[in-house]
Symmetry: C2
Subunit: 307 residues, 2 copies
């Protein structure tokens, strides 16, 4: 099962981290940008080419260090359909290198609309009885604000293709509490959605005990992670907020179970932009990203032992 | 201001409705599909071409009846980047026909990620100091589950381009209450987000008294609409759920203020698929859509008088 595939990769590499592929054009070293603009012009096509080359370099440098990459759709959609075309190539390339690809799309909708999103991201579209796939990652993130009928269609589609979903539960941003921390009876809103998600996904456990619907739980609220780890026994956690946003290895350890399983920690800028700290104009961007990914693995290893 | 442009168009046409452009390939009449497949093959390209032709026909038939159209991104993303490319063309074509375009994207994210989405949908991407626009509708829908810092970047971007946003408050689906109706103190969650949205948008009122951040409020919960209309004095409502989902003209009247202002009601399948009820194989799809849009206008006119 897909969630087991992810955990197996994490165990094999002894590394419970995922590298974000969220490049803005400013993150791309000048030598790559110049070459791309020379080939495609200064504009959307040139920027798309530059980020594609950057992504390929990152994937090549990281694929034997991290088990997974997480492209965030915002950083492709900002360049319109050309960016989305490049996202499709990026996902395919990462998969071809053995990486588990989590598309961070945070889509949320109901019934037939959720089914349509699922066609694009999970199952492919049915046209005159034939199926045509588009983005095809291993896993997507979704928003559950609209209720369990906004989770179920995505989860059903995911399961039909042996893929996973991660539902937003407790996000890492400063304002996350405005809605998510509201107390109603004996539960906070993020607990309500966490419970609801575990209920919807009941019976989909893989060999490590985790369901095919995981949860997004921010590193920036360690006491909430700790409580959620106990509460949501069968929910795998995707943990953003490490590094640039302020979450530490000590904070994220609470996301893991006693075997060091059940969670994966994301870093985006800390890895992608590592070259900005070496003083070498980005010619070493791939090595710098690799070094940063290794440093992150070692940092987390101080607190998490994967058996 | 953008929200005034929408209200002005509604007043000019005496029609507070928006037509969804959410076609699945099955909604496209056979003669259009056959021609598209002959030109582009049975597959994503053929389906994209068929839906493009269908959208053009709908836009031509509706542009002097309805003030606005609402493409839902799920029904373009399901065909991958090719669908997104066609969405860009659809938005441009609808705008060229004088329609106010609401892109129903329900994106939700924070900080730099929300800014990146905004580049794609509202402002354009900045590349080496130049701006390159992509989808460029008049307005987008967003999700506020992550808090006010997931609304503010979108709203700021919208205002900079004189565009609007609509934030999900109370959605029309059966499960919407699971999270949105949770009672905390003296407010339900959807009221919390409605209040928060009105607070974030404070000071952006146009000439009709409505802010540049509206709210999505489902027709299927008329008593909630009624209460929200009183509560959120400066919030314009986008009302889904009329027709196929069960909301009636009598239900939606509560979304409007005493001048018949402040709301727009969506219908998607009821207009797009009207041809399926005429028994003419879809050769009359444009006329059928036009007739259905007129019928909807007249239906709502029984209960809402726009001054």
């Amino acid at each position: 099962m897909s969630i087991d595939v992810l955990q197996d990769k994490i165990r094999a590499m002894k590394n419970p981290t995922v590298a974000g592929l969220d490049a803005r054009i400013e993150y791309v070293p000048e030598h790559i940008r110049k070459a791309a603009y020379a080939a495609r012009g200064v504009g959307l096509e040139g920027a798309v080419e530059a980020i594609w080359q950057f992504n390929v370099g990152l994937i090549d440098a990281l694929c034997d260090i991290v088990p997974s990459v997480k492209p965030q759709t915002a950083y492709y959609e900002n360049m319109g359909w050309r960016g989305m075309e490049m996202l499709e190539r990026t996902i395919q390339y990462a998969k071809s290198k053995g990486l588990y690809v989590i598309a961070d799309i945070k889509r949320g909708d109901i019934g037939s609309t959720a089914a349509a999103y699922s066609e694009g991201w999970l199952t492919g579209a049915k046209i005159e009885g034939q199926v045509f796939k588009s983005f095809d990652p291993d896993c997507i993130t979704i928003s559950g604000y609209m209720g369990s009928d906004s989770i179920k269609p995505f989860l059903d589609a995911a399961i039909s293709e042996d893929k996973c979903v991660f539902v937003l539960v407790k996000t890492s941003n400063p304002g996350s509490g405005e809605l998510q921390d509201i107390v109603a009876g004996d539960r906070q809103v993020y607990e309500v959605i966490g419970d609801l998600n575990e209920r919807v996904a009941k019976g989909t456990q893989g060999k490590y005990g985790y369901n095919m619907a995981g949860a997004v739980v921010g590193a920036t609220y360690p006491s909430d992670i700790r409580a959620l780890r106990k509460r949501l026994e069968h929910t795998f956690f995707l943990v953003p907020g490490y590094g640039a946003q302020g979450g530490t290895a000590e904070d994220v350890r609470y996301a893991f179970d006693k075997y060091g399983h059940g969670a994966i920690v994301n870093s985006s800028r800390g890895i992608m932009c590592a070259w900005k700290k070496t003083g070498k104009d980005g010619l070493d961007f791939a090595q710098a990203a690799r070094d940063a990914a290794i440093a992150m693995r070692e940092d987390i290893k101080q607190f998490v032992t994967i058996v």
